[in-house]
Symmetry: C2
Subunit: 552 residues, 2 copies
């Protein structure tokens, strides 16, 4: 992959690829260029209301895209109250508008989607039953999924000369078999190892709340598209927080399952295959509601994906009482000293814990004393695992076209690892260090009889472009291989956040109250390994108390 | 671990350890030294009848140890028809006799076992119910398990100076909670990486069928003890065949589950912790019947071991229809060209396949053409993973006492790897190569709709000491992480085996028909990843047709 391209040509190649995708947006869905010229990465505009004000979507289309979650939509379609063609049209239009505001898409598959939607509608009419539990539902995919006949460049200019995908990712096959409709792929960072979804082909995805802020990454295209309500269910990979950070930055919620529960096979690798890293990449859903995540997990696993992917665990999705009627026990982590919480996030956590307590649940603070291993050191260890490749393959993929690395690659790393390179000998010790951390959390959860841990997903609301830094709070769940969900639980409000400010504490990135006013604030809820089912119900409880589910 | 010991002292240390264990055998259970003097590694005697002829066991004790499997025994004890004290006494006596014939034990815990057996009996009498599904059952353990208060030297002389274990292995805790009685630990090879259970502390375990043959390894102590009927259920580790090879060499059956189903935590490591090898060590049962393996798996998993060991998968043991009443589809592998089958094993496989076909099952030959990746190359790749440690820790443990390496360490390796040492860079490629092999088998099983694969466990019956070589057929299931069982399906019979001889085929180790006459012949049945439950029922089918369950 990534054949050598004359350096002078990379810009031409990227521009041509970008234009060919843009050309797939129907003319009548285009915003005036005078308007889009204002949507730049230095503008602090919010574009959240553009779909509603631009006149491109009908009132019904606005309703379809705004008023429901995926569970509602599949129910309405299954009952024949809504045609897939109408739903898909609405989301295609809205995604097209979103793309023009925040550069959230890579591949556009509107024509294919409309054909598939018609197929769904005809099937239902003819057979009197749905294709599956996701019948007719438009689903957006991170660019790294393979969809037959469509490219997967991953934002590497050198990948533009690769032929379109010859096969689907296993999950794409599974979702298709369940009735899904694919209509777009979404933007991500060059190398996928930063929280700024920025590359030299598709540009930089902007945060719809404030274009001068990051949309997060590596699935920032999904995050921005979901916030624009140009998608109701997205699918993303996550090895350090990639599926959760965009929800943290743009609002909404996402779910990272335990590894092996959702089939991973058949995607495009962003780096070298065969890593000995013990931190697996996983795939999970992002969207508007916890029940949609459950719909996704339940449906995918019911399709027996282990028959198609040997690395998927042969385990059914267990049915539990939903929601659990016993009081729950939550551990609470209120940050770590190397990355203290910004006031809005401290308040979000405080409010969440308070609401849980008020409703009879127990909160066990875990950040007093040395109950938990250092979150910062744990993330540093994870980063070593991510830097194992002696061949530095992602950089080879960059160099192959002559394109420059994106700026945030410099910021999403530990200064401690500047001169570090892996050895096989140290890898053994790293594995031992990791095992100790996993054991410590496991023992803690057992001894404290915890059902889940509430912790920050990030220390701040969406920061400015290229200033996110290292996602120490999300990568924790990856290293532990614990399922984890992220929920929007409120908004930054300067006047209320103020009392959570702590004097003399240095914050990174800087806290700018005027910038973050009104931005979504998120918490992370981490469950226990393989207990995705239990975590899902716990997330429902948290969502019910503080989540303010979107789309309803 | 393994503090430096003056070289001159290792013999004294080993002798003293050996004597201290031997001293735990009650005087009245000792065989005359004139008799035991004949039980040497160069003798071709069978000692299988010694327990019955030595006069140490009563007729009832002979019956208890010979006539039942573990399922029978726990049922009889639960019904109050048999006391644990009587069962445990009988097995302690028989294990003591076995030890004097074939050197199968390391640690002796007869006193502790008797106390525990009394506790079981008193509990049942007092409470009117059993402690658990393994109530009162004596279970033998490979030396690498930690049992509180008992040493775990693993046959390293340098480990003799370690204090006794301070805690139990997680599985030992689990089995204890289920009612088990521990009465002995069993012998294994220095480094555990050969099929000759031989070390400088406890000597060499001999094959009860013919003392000049290997008992197999690395769990040879279990294999020999089980063949002497000095145990009814043993527990062993397996990373290349360690739990299956002794059953192949000595008779009986064993089960290697999918990794993560039986808790592995808390044992003593034979080498360095933190290996990046993707081939996990697993623990499984060995003994007399498939239903005993099921009893073990079902009971252990019902105890929710994931609460105690974070690396155990949170998955229940699924209940299936037993046995499956549909015809099964079996793949058949009749060896590979680098290690062709000896006539008795070729006949064993042929008979097994024929019986299965006769009873309506389908046999799909997999060894024609290139349907499967080379078994030899697959084993070679596995061996590279086993040789990853740049510090060669097992050899450090040997050198720490000045003891010599055992001879078979030279024989259980690939000449291709003589000068090979691992690099981090190659490890990536090795992982890719492994993934391709896993994918090939997974695709094959799917395309051919196979329920299981019947293949050799080894190319021969038990060979002479130090000539087993590399276990290419068993390590396949470890690399694939497929569950696998081994069953004795007959005996070598020169006159019947003859027709399976192939002219001009070089056999390794050499085929000596007169030596192997009457030895058990085994087949291996490999199931699908995570489908341990299905494999167990399939093994029952094979056992029912050709297995001739022992103990009934």
């Amino acid at each position: 992959m990534g054949s050598q391209i004359p350096i002078a040509d990379w810009r031409t190649l990227a521009e041509s690829k970008r234009s060919s995708v843009f050309a797939k947006i129907p003319k009548e869905w285009l915003l005036p260029s005078s308007q889009t010229a204002r949507y730049t990465e230095t503008s602090s505009l919010s574009v959240l209301d553009v779909p509603r004000t631009c006149g491109i979507l009908t009132e019904t289309e606005l309703e379809i895209t705004e008023n429901y979650d995926a569970t509602d939509l599949v129910n309405l379609m299954a009952e024949g109250k809504l045609k897939s063609v109408r739903v898909v049209t609405a989301f295609c239009k809205r995604a097209a508008v979103a793309q023009q505001c925040v550069s959230c898409l890579t591949e556009i598959m509107f024509d294919e989607a409309m054909a598939r939607a018609r197929e769904c509608d005809e099937y239902l009419e003819r057979e009197g039953k749905v294709l599956g539990p996701l019948h007719g539902l438009p689903i957006s995919l991170k660019d790294s999924f393979n969809v037959k006949g469509v490219q997967a460049t991953l934002g590497y200019t050198s990948f533009i000369t690769n032929p379109p995908s010859a096969t689907n990712s296993v999950l794409v096959d599974v979702l298709y078999s369940l009735g899904a409709v694919f209509y777009c792929k979404t933007n991500l960072p060059q190398t996928m190892m930063t929280a700024d979804s920025h590359n030299n082909i598709f540009g930089r995805t902007l945060n719809p709340h404030n274009l001068s802020l990051t949309a997060g990454g590596s699935t920032g295209g999904e995050g921005a598209l979901l916030a624009m309500k140009g998608s109701v269910m997205g699918v993303a990979t996550d090895v350090a927080g990639s599926n959760r950070i965009p929800s943290i930055c743009c609002g909404g919620s996402s779910f990272k399952p335990t590894a092996g529960r959702v089939p991973f096979a058949g995607g495009v690798a962003v780096g070298r295959l065969g890593t000995p890293s013990p931190i697996p990449v996983v795939i999970g859903p992002c969207g508007r509601s916890v029940r949609d995540h459950k719909l996704f997990m339940n449906s995918v696993i019911a399709a027996q994906p282990w028959l198609l992917d040997e690395n998927t665990l042969h385990i059914p999705w267990r049915t539990l009482d939903a929601p659990p009627n016993k009081p729950l026990r939550f551990g609470l982590i209120r940050g770590c000293k190397q990355r203290p919480l910004h006031p809005p996030i401290a308040r979000a956590l405080h409010n969440t814990a308070t609401q849980l307590k008020t409703h009879g649940h127990t909160i066990v603070p875990l950040d007093d004393g040395d109950k938990i291993p250092s979150i910062y050191s744990t993330a540093l260890l994870a980063w070593k695992f991510f830097k194992l490749d002696p061949q530095k393959t992602p950089f080879k993929y960059i160099q192959a076209s002559g394109e420059p690395p994106i700026p945030s690659l410099q910021t999403c790393t530990f200064s401690e690892l500047k001169d570090w390179s892996a050895t096989l000998d140290e890898l053994w010790d790293m594995n031992v260090a990791k095992a100790k951390i996993c054991h410590a959390y496991h023992s803690l959860m057992r001894e404290e009889r915890l059902d889940a841990i509430v912790l920050p997903g990030y220390q701040a609301t969406a920061p400015r472009h290229d200033s996110f830094g290292v996602p120490i709070y999300t990568v924790l769940a990856n290293l532990l291989n614990y399922p984890s969900g992220v929920l929007t639980v409120g908004r930054a409000r300067r006047c209320e956040d103020r009392e959570f400010a702590r004097e003399g504490v240095g914050l990174e990135p800087p806290y700018e109250p005027e910038i973050c006013e009104g931005l979504p604030t998120a918490v992370q809820v981490m469950g226990k390994n393989m207990m995705d089912e239990e975590l899902m119900e716990i997330l429902s409880v948290v969502e019910g108390l503080v989540g303010g589910r979107d789309g309803k």
